[in-house]
């Protein structure tokens, strides 16, 4: 059926997320919401059941682009939940619900980074030396805000192998007028003694407050703990993972070896393999606070954010799990 076909614009967004042309948890989330919005706009059918099925398919395609990105999942759930729960009974009205929810999410996500900047900047004192790892818009929002407030601060940026996102961080901060010093990742323990506060972003926050972020984050946290340096995570609430509440593990993606060494090197030495994990897990006990747009929380209170923001998603999971058990039991009885 022609009306059920997923529009080319949506497929392009999916492709860009997959190929990492669109990257960063916030950007991925907004792109997915935009994908749902476009899909709704382009739907030409009149039957509600067809529209719902069509939207579910779009949601599946978008979810599969980066199966481990929780922000993607949350953005899609945010829109789809409102669609499913809407009392509307005709397609045009349902479309409006999807479009409005997607717009709401996008605006909210953009605003969240700003609010995190404002809240987090209060934790920065005059003369602070800050270290950041990788390139996080939420973390940089805090640093830039504090600088705009006239605080005299300096920043160490790790170069962040293998993809050198530290260069983007250095560029962004230098453009904003800050003094930045790039360091190799291996120098973290040596440099941490000169640092007052560490601020990093998050890819995912798990139910226990553990933070999944760019590889090396947990090493920075460990070195900060040893040196008694504050360690802050800046994370929008849509990075908190409802799935972890019901015991799901966060999968750590391993990326292409050629990000680390050239192809020729691997071809020449057949006995060498490359491990290239994209993320690692920082345990909550190494994190002082998580700075969200809803306020500052200790990592152990992550469940509070999850209950408040994604209680419905958790309830949904539990409902599904209950149904699965029931159908298993029925199968056994039969």
């Amino acid at each position: 059926m022609e009306e059920m076909r997923i529009p080319i614009e949506v497929m392009e967004i999916a492709e860009d997320i997959k190929s990492m042309k669109i990257r960063g948890a916030g950007r991925i989330a907004r792109a997915a919401a935009r994908g749902l919005l476009i899909a709704a706009q382009k739907f030409e059918g009149v039957k509600v059941e067809n529209f719902l099925e069509y939207m579910n398919r779009v949601a599946d395609v978008l979810k599969k682009t980066r199966p481990t990105a929780v922000s993607l999942f949350n953005a899609i759930s945010y829109v789809m939940f409102r669609m499913v729960k809407a009392p509307e009974t005709d397609v045009e009205r349902l479309k409006k619900v999807v479009i409005k929810s997607a717009e709401e999410f996008i605006e909210y996500s953009l605003r969240a980074v700003e609010i995190i900047g404002e809240i987090g900047a209060k934790r920065i004192s005059e003369g602070d030396v800050i270290l950041t790892h990788c390139n996080s818009s939420a973390a940089l929002s805090i640093i830039k805000k504090a600088y705009e407030q006239g605080k005299n601060i300096k920043v160490y940026a790790t170069e962040t192998r293998p993809k050198f996102q530290g260069h983007i961080t250095a560029r962004t901060l230098a453009k904003a007028g800050l003094e930045v010093t790039l360091i190799p990742d291996a120098a973290i323990r040596l440099i941490i003694r000169r640092v007052d506060k560490v601020i990093v972003g998050a890819d995912t926050v798990a139910a226990n407050g553990a933070v999944i972020n760019k590889i090396g984050t947990s090493l920075v946290a460990l070195a900060a703990k040893e040196a008694n340096v504050n360690f802050y995570v800046a994370a929008e609430t849509y990075k908190f993972s409802p799935a972890t509440v019901i015991g799901e593990l966060v999968t750590i993606e391993e990326r292409d070896p050629e990000e680390v060494v050239p192809k020729s090197y691997l071809a020449k030495y057949q006995n060498i393999i490359v491990r290239n994990p994209a993320f690692d897990v920082t345990p909550p006990e190494y994190i002082d606070v998580i700075i969200t747009e809803k306020g500052i929380i200790p990592p152990q209170a992550a469940i509070l954010i999850l209950e408040e923001e994604y209680g419905w998603a958790i309830a949904d999971y539990i409902l599904q799990a209950t149904r699965a058990i029931e159908s298993d039991e029925e199968a056994l009885l039969a």
């Binding site: 170069e159 790039l182 360091i183 190799p184 990742d185 090493l219 750590i252 680390v260 490359v274 690692d280």
Partner: protein
């Protein structure tokens, strides 16, 4: 009198760590001194050039205890020989001494590596970083004994010497896994032992080695993985007994700052390129020397055996003063 450009080139190569392995670096430094002696046409010239080159060589790699210890031995011998006033004798003596020092360095390295290889068991995964002749030899011994083990090597930025070590180990037929320096805490769970090489061992048992070593040791200590530092006693620094601090050298900024960023932002983006860091003794399970394993806290015992009690440490400056009498 100006120094020959070829002398300065060797010193620069040492300064910017272009020579991999601290052992190779020391040997290059000693060969430079031999050249200075050989090129001299009078004892005056020899003394003058040596008195100029030696401090430059030392400052090029102030962290290397083995370099300083070897320079001191070599220069003392030259000073002694110069008393004869016979240039040919001095040159001959320099040759003999150099060979002796070199042989000693290589022998100690072999012995240390051999002892270290005993700590590798079948099925082990050993993590190491950077490029070290001694660590390489330890793996070679264990491999030749037929032990089956895996080696993890970190990339070891700046310099990426880890990739060179991995390539050599792979050529030997070992199974190697490499990963970026920041992945150490993620990967340490699979590791049985960490082998670190050494630039110097301080009097308190602290290890000075390629930057990132202390981060590996910290992650290992958190994961209760054993850490061994491979260091012949020539790498023990007697100067630190007298309270001297070890100076940590920095590399060239271009190794981590891309040209584009430098052009666009100039001074606004700075870089720090430390080449070494210090691993505290509490993160080291044992230091493996040619005399066997010692606890880092027992390093002073060995220093006492070498330098007596109370410690008799002759400084480089004191030795260089011996050259003075010939400098007119």
């Amino acid at each position: 009198m100006r120094l020959k450009p070829e002398y300065l080139k060797v010193i620069d190569d040492i300064k910017y760590a272009r020579i991999f392995s601290s052992t190779e670096t020391v040997l290059a430094g000693l060969r430079l001194l031999k050249k200075v002696v050989d090129d001299a046409e009078s004892i005056e010239e020899l003394s003058f050039n040596l008195a100029t080159v030696v401090p430059l060589l030392f400052k090029a790699r102030p962290t290397s205890a083995m370099l300083l210890n070897s320079i001191k031995t070599f220069v003392s011998e030259i000073v002694k020989a110069s008393e004869s006033g016979d240039l040919n004798y001095v040159k001959q003596h320099a040759d003999v001494q150099l060979q002796k020092i070199e042989r000693n360095i290589l022998q100690l390295a072999e012995l240390t590596a051999k002892i270290a290889s005993h700590r590798i068991n079948d099925g082990d995964t050993i993590l190491t970083n950077s490029y070290s002749t001694i660590v390489l030899k330890a793996f070679k011994f264990a491999h030749h004994e037929g032990k089956k083990f895996k080696v993890y090597v970190t990339e070891s930025r700046p310099g990426s010497e880890g990739l060179v070590l991995a390539a050599e180990l792979a050529k030997m037929g070992l199974k190697i896994t490499i990963f970026v320096d920041s992945a150490v805490r993620y990967m340490i769970k699979d590791v049985d032992n960490v082998f670190l090489s050494s630039e110097a061992i301080a009097a308190n048992g602290a290890l000075i080695n390629k930057v990132g070593s202390s981060l590996i040791a910290l992650a290992a200590s958190e994961a209760r993985v054993r850490v061994f530092a491979l260091a012949p006693t020539l790498k023990f620094s007697p100067e630190t007994l007298l309270g001297e601090l070890v100076v940590l050298a920095e590399g060239e900024s271009s190794t981590i700052l891309p040209e584009k960023l430098r052009e666009e932002f100039g001074e606004k983006i700075k870089v720090r390129v430390p080449l070494f860091d210090v691993t505290p003794p509490e993160y080291i399970d044992a230091i493996i020397t040619e005399r066997g394993l010692v606890a880092p806290q027992a390093v002073v015992m060995i220093l006492k055996e070498i330098y007596g009690w109370p410690f008799q440490v002759i400084t480089l400056d004191e030795i260089l003063e011996g050259l003075e009498s010939w400098r007119k």
